[in-house]
Symmetry: D2
Subunit: 247 residues, 4 copies
């Protein structure tokens, strides 16, 4: 079983009727619902308002894949928690960052760039698959539309992705690298641009497939390391080799 | 001086009044004209109709950067010539492939893929710079428009570019990786999508800057190797080291 | 089930007692034996001496993953067969190229480079894992030794790998990018350097794990396309969108 | 002129006679000396012990390329200064990180990984050029030796380099990705492994060429941006286009 924790700041849902209508159980609730349909995935949710932001050590250390949605309240996530998540990603935990999470502390820290972009409200988007044989693309349409989505446009200040999976086309004239993969330390990171809080994006079938596939792709199949090491080697491999062979 | 040879099949220019009106001296003539404004560049042109396709050994071996425009007549370029160009790129010669050159023999051979794409006539394009600090982007607008351009859309069957410089947005709804860089052997390759024969694309100031910058970027600053080698090492570096130090 | 075909030119095995002693059933036989221990893998073998080189259409089109070992007889593999393999890789088939297969027609065609390297007989190698969380590294030791292996040294003329998995250290003083991954078209390609015909390399437990893992990694999980297309779009996505919404 | 600032913590030089003997003017002094031989480079030095660590705003904002050597005193570099350097790299400043600088705050922040490695004192190294046509390799020997150098071995916890230039071979049996390039934001970063404080590495001619070439390569030829922006677009490109064309 892949243990997924869906983290959502869950602030918009409280203050906006519009958002609450689209996501009555929160964005995290919606994501949990569709992920739960996958027999290999076990999901829990966590939100900013919970004790320790919903991510005390016993939860974080029991998470294989963390999904992150945040927007208004990036600054309220404690640096210490960010450091723990960072450490766990580098040890192997998978991380999926959604939409406005591009400016979350954890994503910026992992990318080592500003993750800035240009943005504009309420446009229409069409997503194009540029890497159809990638595991994240499995069963996803070569191109699909989102009737309303916030425009995120280039230049997106990220390190060149290891693999580029989706490009976004916006009716207003912009383009975006909408689905990007990186390896950081032992962990895999996937960023997916769609998902503004007031749009029904996470109800879209293609979007659900992408996120479900991404859970499988970022899953640390080789395990999560116990700690990060910088070993001082006292005896060289050649010394060991020679001892073994001359002994 | 950078020795550039602009190769054009120059077939459309002969049969289409429309094309001849846009490029009275051929596409190659237009490219030669704007490149000649750069003091560090020395340009000659070559066309399919010339003897040995305009690329006899003494021309090819005197070329630092080859620019390639072809479309209707890809099949008429002899395989032997393609092999020579391929060999010279791998030894260091820079190569810039324009527009419909995506299906030229030399580009497909270097990419090791089909270089297929989807296409549609007569659309409007907007190009977005995704890598503004790259040498090819120097002085180029962050985004610029081409009122008429052939649509080239994803999926573009190329190996993941080493650097992605431009993304193209089309009014009809498609996107494209419009400016891509690769290193192949000792040579640098740049593909640039705009430039349909009947459109005044090569008169566009931004397009001219991109191609001029690309000439500088693909230029083999470390030189062009005389031949490609697969050396059989008779004495190991460690044997040589020990002889030298115990001698 | 993953359908694997292990192809071997199987020439050395016939002419050299030494090779025959190390691989009494041929290199292909040895690889078949250890792959067969994996319940998800179904293996057959094919050799140069068989009718149609052991790869008639019905075999090739029934292969998910092709493993390639060749050396002396690269030139005897017909270009037409190479074209068919190339086409199938670009449509999704996985390809694992071993050792001297670096100079096989199929590998050079996919790489679009010479795949030259420097080489020297009979050294000792130590392989280092540089990407331990990659699926190909699963369960593999962070570093392992091969008492006798042919030296393959840099510069290896390949396009920059999408992922570098292993580096090889040679006692004689050279280094090599010994395990490299690329995506070409819809297919995944893995090159693995160890495996000289007269050395018991394919009996090594770590080597067997690497090749078995590689079979899973190059397997085309999203399927193999029926054909390669370059579609002419007659109606743009935006026209279709507008018709659908104004109908 | 390229304005280079060579930063050195310059602590070892004070406490160790051995280091002071090898670098009587400090490591920074040695680097300044050989860089000054290049007519296009203007060099100044800065050390930890100077006011504001030698990098007050007027110095940092007048620097095109920053070279960084640190080891014992990484922790003494104030976070605020690191943030300023980080910001300037993302705006375009080139950065060259040497040897033990792999654990400097600025390098770890830019990489977004631990930058851990394995290490061992006092070995012998041979560097191999894997990308001879890269500008950083210009005029550098395809392979060169350092009689004494600290061993840095894999796994090096860095994001997959955009370009890998050098591999290091150590007599004791390890390998290392010794010369690596990345683009971060608008800036270029080069990491070069040799250069332990007590070894005469920076007196080596090949090492001097590599660092001099790297200065040219990381130089921000397209300029340094004044600030990092995340623009809110009020009017879409298509609205502007339509107004302009219907006006």
């Amino acid at each position: 079983m892949i243990k997924v924790t869906v983290w959502n700041e869950a602030v918009h849902e409280k203050f906006s009727r519009e958002v609450a209508r689209v996501y009555p159980d929160g964005i995290h609730g919606c994501i949990k619902d569709f992920l739960s349909l996958d027999d290999e995935i076990e999901v829990r949710t966590a939100t900013l308002g919970m004790k320790e932001c919903g991510l005390p050590d016993q939860v974080l250390e029991d998470t294989d894949v963390l999904i992150w949605w945040g927007h208004m309240a990036h600054g309220k996530v404690p640096d210490k928690l960010v450091d723990k998540i960072y450490d766990r990603v580098l040890r192997g935990m998978g991380l999926i960052v959604l939409h406005s999470g591009h400016h979350s502390k954890i994503f910026k820290k992992l990318m080592g760039t500003t993750c800035n972009l240009s943005w504009r409200e309420g446009d229409r988007e069409r997503l194009w698959l540029v890497n159809p044989s990638h595991p994240i693309a499995r069963g996803v349409d070569p191109c699909f539309e989102l009737d309303v989505e916030e425009m995120y446009g280039e230049r997106f200040d990220i390190p060149e992705p290891d693999q580029l999976i989706f490009l976004g086309w916006f009716a207003g004239g912009e383009v975006f690298r909408s689905g990007c993969c990186w390896q950081k330390g032992l962990g895999r990171v996937f960023y997916f641009q769609p998902g503004h809080e007031s749009n029904p994006t996470y109800h879209n079938e293609n979007v659900q497939k992408v996120i479900t596939n991404a859970v499988h792709w970022v899953y640390p199949a080789n395990g999560i390391a116990e700690k990060l090491e910088c070993p001082h080697i006292k005896k060289s491999p050649e010394e060991i080799y020679k001892e073994r062979n001359n002994g």
